[in-house]
């Protein structure tokens, strides 16, 4: 009786641990593949007309909510949306948002710790160059950014050097 209960406990613990490890592996694999499908027509057309349709996984859900609340003053421009486009974009971002560690108080992807780490070899001159101009301009280096592909294979830093 006691052994049976203990085995059930151990089984439970083993399954939970397995699930946690698997979730971590999947998360790492997705992040390391540098591929983030952006597959929503509303999001592409409403947000992707002014900047790359940033993959929802790049920020946490709370950060996306903050962005959606302030669309009429969106980093210096009016990006306000009417319904039903607004609701569609919100739902898409919420469903695909990244984990809590990707929340950013300034609402800027380029201020997130993962972004800084991934770009720590890029020098100030490259960021300032005419071809790049802004960290928001993913496509300047990530030639397939529009397709959510941020892999190294399609990476070309203008000037050819990382520094």
């Amino acid at each position: 009786m006691f052994d049976d209960r203990r085995r059930k406990w151990l089984d439970g613990i083993a399954w939970t641990a397995g699930a946690v490890v698997l979730a971590m592996l999947v998360d790492t694999a997705v992040a390391e593949s540098h591929r983030f499908p952006v597959d929503n027509a509303s999001y592409q057309s409403e947000c992707g007309s002014c900047h790359v349709a940033y993959p929802p996984a790049m920020l946490g859900a709370g950060t996306w909510q903050g962005i959606m609340r302030g669309l009429d003053r969106h980093f210096g421009t009016d990006a306000s949306l009417g319904d039903p486009a607004r609701a569609r974009v919100e739902a898409y971002l919420e469903a695909g948002a990244g984990p809590a560690r990707r929340e950013v108080a300034t609402l800027r992807i380029s201020d997130s710790s993962w972004f800084r780490k991934e770009h720590d070899e890029i020098g100030a001159a490259t960021w300032r160059s005419a071809a790049v101009k802004s960290p928001a301009n993913c496509g300047a280096c990530h030639r397939q950014a529009d397709r959510g592909d941020f892999g190294e294979r399609n990476l070309r830093v203008p000037g050819g050097s990382l520094r």
Partner: protein
Amino acid sequence: MRKTPIRTCTQSALVVLLIFAGAAGAEVPADYLRSLDAAARADTTGFAGFSAARGATWFASRHGTDWSCTTCHTDSPLATGRHATTGRSIAPLAPAANPERLTDAAKIEKWFRRNCNDVLGRACTPAEKGDVIAYLTSLKR
């Protein structure tokens, strides 16, 4: 003043002319143009129709902020533009260079709402919208 059949006819003719003036293939929704025209008439007594020339000047002018339409859309609406802050390329505005442009009233209004707020710090008037549409549709490759 009551609308006479002749006046209605003239107005319709003007709107139709405006649609077909300029680039072939530019299909600005007729009911949208009619509503702009009616609103401009209600705003201004003696309003004599939209003007491509007025639209051209307005498009290139600053209106109290650092930006004009040309800041992102370049001096030629036939050319590909570039977003002033993000660097994103912007497809040409003139239907002659980009047949998709100005074909969807909701989309036109959305962009006027956003961009007028950025460039003028206020909403555009119906006359300003009509003038700039007349300008864009008058351009040929």
